[in-house]
């Protein structure tokens, strides 16, 4: 009976004593290394985030980082330096203009600041009523008025609402625009949900996603012209393009159904075969 215990105990003592004899063994480091999410650990090595979350900074600076972490930008790997420039990997040079640091834009520069990436939207915004007012007066709506800045979220029709729009004008015109957007936006939402669903079920949706992204971006850019008639005129074009994606999505769901039916068919075949083999076995056993 003693052999059950002696060998494990000898191995245990051997390994632990060898381990403990390595005085610099990095137990704490390894534990954190294994359990902590690595990407966040890597993200936090960004000079921008390290500095903005340090105790030297006031609460409003901490708030910026917190808001960004919950933003649509963060979810899509758009980090501080993608908008503000600079060198996040080098704390000493991170805010040098030589390294492309742009800092925070002045109010009047906000459209160009966001338009660095959102090019088509900027073009349409600048020729729109919103854009002209903003350019001529330096006041009125710019990107952050509707979308916020660091806490920017995925845009939806809910942004067009009485509370926000009636800060500058009556809601009637905005309501017309919302109605004009409704059909295409509904299709965009449904397609987006279905593409996500298919992706999670293992269906490759790259082509449909590209097509969806292109139509989505174009339609959203068109909306920023704030031209209800133009939106109405183009809606049927977008509806037709989106229907092509919908048909492809429908084919993918049919393919999933086929896979399930085929598996069920094989399942039933093997149930049948197992019954046959079992009966054969019983007949041999009786012999």
């Amino acid at each position: 009976m003693i052999r059950y215990f002696i060998i494990p105990i000898v191995v245990l003592i051997g390994i632990i004593s060898t381990g403990l004899s390595l005085a610099s063994y990095r137990e704490t480091f390894e534990r954190e290394f294994m359990l902590s999410p690595w990407s966040i650990a890597k993200g936090e090595t960004s000079a921008c985030i390290q500095c903005h979350t340090s105790d030297d900074m006031g609460s409003e600076m901490h708030e910026i980082t917190r808001q960004w972490k919950e933003s649509w930008h963060a979810k899509n790997n758009i980090s501080c330096h993608d908008c503000h420039g600079g060198a996040p990997e080098d704390a000493s040079m991170s805010m040098m203009h030589q390294r492309g640091f742009k800092g925070s834009p002045q109010n009047i520069d906000i459209p160009e600041f966001c338009g660095t990436c959102h090019i088509a939207i900027l073009d349409n915004f600048l020729v729109s009523g919103h854009g002209e007012t903003f350019r001529n007066t330096g006041e009125g709506p710019n990107c952050t008025t509707c979308h916020g800045s660091h806490n920017v979220q995925q845009a939806s029709m809910d942004i067009i609402n009485e509370q926000l729009c009636s800060q500058c004008h009556t809601y009637e015109r905005a309501k017309e625009m919302k109605q004009a957007l409704f059909t295409v936006e509904s299709k965009l939402n449904t397609i987006n949900k279905n593409l996500n669903r298919l992706k999670l079920l293992g269906i490759a949706t790259d082509n449909q996603e590209k097509s969806f992204f292109r139509n989505h971006a174009e339609f959203r850019a068109l909306f920023h012209s704030i031209d209800v008639d133009a939106v109405r005129a183009k809606s049927s074009d977008y509806t037709q393009k989106l229907e092509i994606i919908e048909r492809e999505i429908s084919e993918s769901f049919k393919q999933l159904a086929f896979r399930r039916n085929f598996s069920a068919y094989l399942f039933l075949i093997f149930i049948g075969l197992s019954i046959v083999v079992f009966l054969l076995l019983k007949s041999y056993e009786q012999k």
Partner: protein
């Protein structure tokens, strides 16, 4: 008529009838050899299924970080019935481990590992560990989020071992992080090195069974047969059933049940072993919300997480693995094979089983 001619043609050249008579009809299986005694055979068939489906996947898979994920997507979505081969391979990789665990438990509880079957037990345990290793290496190949981060965690675990640990981790990854080198390394192990070693061990395992005969249930067998032999003696089981057709039909039935389970899971729980993160390409900069190893690694993973000292945690796993593998040599030589008459051994087995189940469930929900 035609079939008779073909049969005769083969018979003249190969002597099939004599071959079947010598190796199947005259090979007797013991009385009481039930369905559970066929699990070793089922595991072998499951391994062959993995090899065949693996070869089909290999025809289109590209082992490079830039193409691996896309190639798996192509196999699943564009190659005719590629999804079927991928799902059978994926589900089969989990079922085979379940089959081996039950087989191992059955052999342990029947105390069939005792002399003269030590080599059979040790080769079986080595195969079990190698199948687990094959599973670990296979997880990374689709280069998706789940596989990438599971590999990151599993390749860190050996680093807890003193002196050699860091070397093992570094060798597994081919550097400090999981990269394209890790993918090449895991690919070589998964598709060539490990399957070849497992195949050789299967040969040895089967050879030992053929030479020694299948072990009898301890409740049917007089104690003296097992304990008194001092020289090689084959257990012929003259009173038993012929391997063909009786026992072979039992095997065939269990193989059918294996396929029933595979296709049941494929029909009703298609994505049970393919969590949503498996549909996203590996991104070293974005950790999934939870990184959880597959079900068969949950117990050791939870053990390491729970025990405050990492060296102690990994040591317990090493002791358990070594102890399990060489158990026939630790077990009392003069004790009988009926586990019901050995309360200490039975308690030990039940405690280990209960701990394993608790840690697995704990790991699942922690």
């Amino acid at each position: 008529m035609m079939w008779g001619k073909i049969k005769h043609w083969i018979e003249v050249r190969i002597g099939l009838e004599e071959l079947i008579n010598r190796h199947l009809r005259s090979f007797k299986t013991p009385k009481g050899a039930g369905f559970l005694s066929t699990l070793g055979f089922v595991a072998m068939i499951a391994f062959i299924v993995q090899v065949i489906t693996g070869i089909m996947l290999l025809l289109y898979y590209v082992p490079h970080p830039d193409f691996a994920f896309q190639s798996v997507q192509t196999i699943t979505n564009e190659i005719p019935y590629g999804w079927l081969f991928r799902l059978v391979h994926n589900i089969g990789s989990n079922i085979i481990i379940g089959v081996i665990i039950i087989h191992l438990l059955h052999v342990f509880l029947r105390v069939s590992y005792k002399k003269p079957r030590e080599i059979t037990w040790v080769s079986g345990c080595i195969m079990f560990f190698l199948v687990l290793l094959t599973s670990i290496t296979g997880q990374l190949l689709p280069w998706n989020q789940t596989g990438f981060w599971q590999t990151t965690v599993t390749s860190t675990i050996p680093a807890f071992l003193p002196i050699i640990g860091e070397g093992i981790s570094s060798y597994m990854r081919g550097g400090e992080f999981v990269t394209g080198i890790t993918l090449s390394r895991y690919f070589s192990f998964h598709v060539v090195i490990l399957p070849v070693i497992i195949s050789v061990l299967i040969g040895l395992h089967v050879l030992m069974i053929r030479r020694q005969g299948i072990s009898t249930s301890p409740s049917l067998e007089p104690e003296s047969i097992e304990t008194s032999n001092t020289e090689f003696k084959r257990e012929d089981h003259p009173e038993g059933q012929p391997c063909f057709p009786n026992f072979s039909l039992k095997r065939l039935f269990m193989v059918m049940i294996y396929f029933v389970i595979v296709f049941f899971i494929m029909t009703f729980m298609q994505n049970i072993f393919l969590p949503p993160e498996t549909n996203f390409p590996a991104n070293p900069l974005m950790t999934p919300e939870s990184i959880r190893p597959p079900w068969y690694f949950l117990a050791p993973y939870q053990l390491i997480k729970t025990i405050p000292n990492d060296i102690l945690g990994i040591t317990l796993i090493v002791i358990f693995s070594v102890g399990l593998m060489f158990w026939p040599f630790f077990d009392a030589k003069d004790a009988g094979r009926n586990i019901q008459k050995r309360p200490l051994l039975l308690s030990l087995a039940l405690i280990v089983l209960a701990l394993w189940a608790i840690l697995t469930i704990w790991g699942m929900y922690s």
